[in-house]
């Protein structure tokens, strides 16, 4: 059974009076259990759109998406899903401990477990010493780290990260890579979008390339050795798709 399945998804945004923009066209993809899947594509390709559909933040115009066999509209399924939004923004006046305690409670965790997880996660993302400070005084990268901790507080089976590396310094990026590999070793399924191509081959089992809302190519690194660099392959796919539509 696929852990995440996109089934002929189409998403059209209204951009004005009678103007429309199709962000996803007939997009189908299955993510397998326990794999790390890198979701690549140029700006505006539709990556975040696909991810937001998974979290039921927006609804597909056609087609459907499922997680662990349940329609994404069912709220209970989100107990097993951890999500990091792109450019996350959290409550200004609260500190990470309060945010994590909310997230834990919303996912039905008991307070002892929340406390334990909060300490270990804030240590992992390097914010334990700053935990009493309100988020409004945090830097961009620190906010991103809070977002990572929030995505993982309830020990989800499925982890969905929208550009987890963006805004992080080299040490932060390495920490995220280590974190992804650790999650994989625990048997989690990880689906993440990224623009940062270095290390992708090392972390991912498979990657998908999305251009103009259509899936152009899926590469399984176990079966296929890339002849060219990932970067060149990426550019080639975009060119084959006829460049970027605006």
């Amino acid at each position: 059974m696929a852990v995440i399945s996109f089934d002929k998804l189409t998403k059209t945004y209204k951009t004005g009076f009678r103007k429309k923009k199709t962000a996803l066209k007939d997009f189908s993809l299955d993510i397998r259990e326990g794999e790390v899947f890198g979701f690549l594509g140029p700006n505006g390709a539709g990556k975040s759109t696909a991810i937001k559909i998974l979290l039921n933040l927006i609804f597909p115009t056609a087609g459907k998406a499922e997680i662990l066999g349940s329609d994404v509209g069912e709220k209970e399924i989100r107990r097993s899903v951890g999500y990091l939004p792109e450019n996350p923004y959290f409550y200004d006046y609260l500190n990470p401990v309060e945010l994590l305690s909310f997230a834990g409670r919303a996912s039905n965790m008991d307070s002892l477990k929340i406390r334990e997880k909060t300490e270990s996660l804030l240590n992992t993302v390097g914010l334990w010493n700053e935990r009493k400070r309100a988020i409004r005084s945090y830097s961009k990268g620190m906010v991103q780290r809070v977002g990572l901790a929030l995505a993982l507080i309830h020990d989800p089976k499925v982890v969905i990260l929208d550009e987890p590396m963006t805004g992080l310094d080299p040490i932060g990026r390495k920490q995220v890579i280590d974190l992804i590999l650790k999650l994989k070793s625990e048997g989690k399924t990880i689906f993440f979008s990224s623009h940062i191509l270095e290390d992708i081959e090392r972390i991912c089992d498979r990657i998908g390339m999305l251009v103009n809302g259509q899936l152009r190519r899926v590469i399984d690194f176990k079966k296929e050795k890339l002849i060219k660099s990932l970067e060149d392959t990426f550019i080639e796919e975009v060119e084959k798709a006829g460049g970027l539509q605006q």
């Binding site: 945004y13 759109t49 937001k52 979290l55 039921n56 933040l57 927006i58 609804f59 709220k75 209970e76 399924i77 989100r78 107990r79 899903v81 999500y83 939004p85 996350p88 923004y89 959290f90 409550y91 200004d92 006046y93 609260l94 309060e98 945010l99 909310f102 997230a103 409670r105 919303a106 996912s107 039905n108 309100a134 929030l150």
Partner: protein
Amino acid sequence: MNAVWSVALITFKEGIKNRVIFGIFIIALLLFAATTTVTTLFMRDIVKVAVDLSLSTVSFAGLLTLLFIGVNLFGKDLDKRTIYMVISRPISRSEYLIGKFIGIVLLALSVVVFLGLLSIVPVIMSKRFYYYTEAKFDWWIYFIAVIYIFIKLAVVSSIITLFASFTSNSFIALVLSLVAYIIGQSTESVRELLVSQVEKIEVSPILSYMVEIAYYVFPNISAFDLKTQAAHGLSINPSYIIWTALYAVFYMTIALAIGTLAFRRREFP
């Protein structure tokens, strides 16, 4: 319930830590101080004036809290997408909306409790100046009036929630809520004026029809105002108390039901 309660709690925390609330408290304290000073200038009815001004201050501070913090608690969630961290959890859109409403009501409650207790000071001060006559005054009625200020604020919170369910724009939500409050405060007197016909004014049927609609659509804010009774120490009819409370519950239920219906289909791109 866990879902609703966790949203309510985080909303309340975010609201109570907002700096604006200090500003509102300072305004309220200044108004209490002014009440105490002003009442000493009056030769008569000192207690009445003090009670009226104190209750008005509590109500005004509560309203400021709702309009400047309550509205923004929704606005920021929708504008800046903090809502992602909430509805990406096992929390439905309806639970989010109800939780948010409860959080804002808790915020109003804490303002009313804090300032309601503080408002005892100017009233007691005025009573000491007015010791030579038996002023008709009853603390029970005073506190019932304070409770009804809270009930009124809860109704206003439900209207804010309703508006937030279909607009993301804080400014529009603020203006709409304020307009609803102002209209709600006058519909009853306007309607009574038209119905009683004491002035024998010619009213077009369309106008009276519109007034009638407004009377039912907008909350009857003036019904919750027990300032006069508290100031004059008049007893309040228990059935009035009960019916007004039921009216509030009924109004909030309707507002939230419409709100959740609209919100269930909202997308957050």
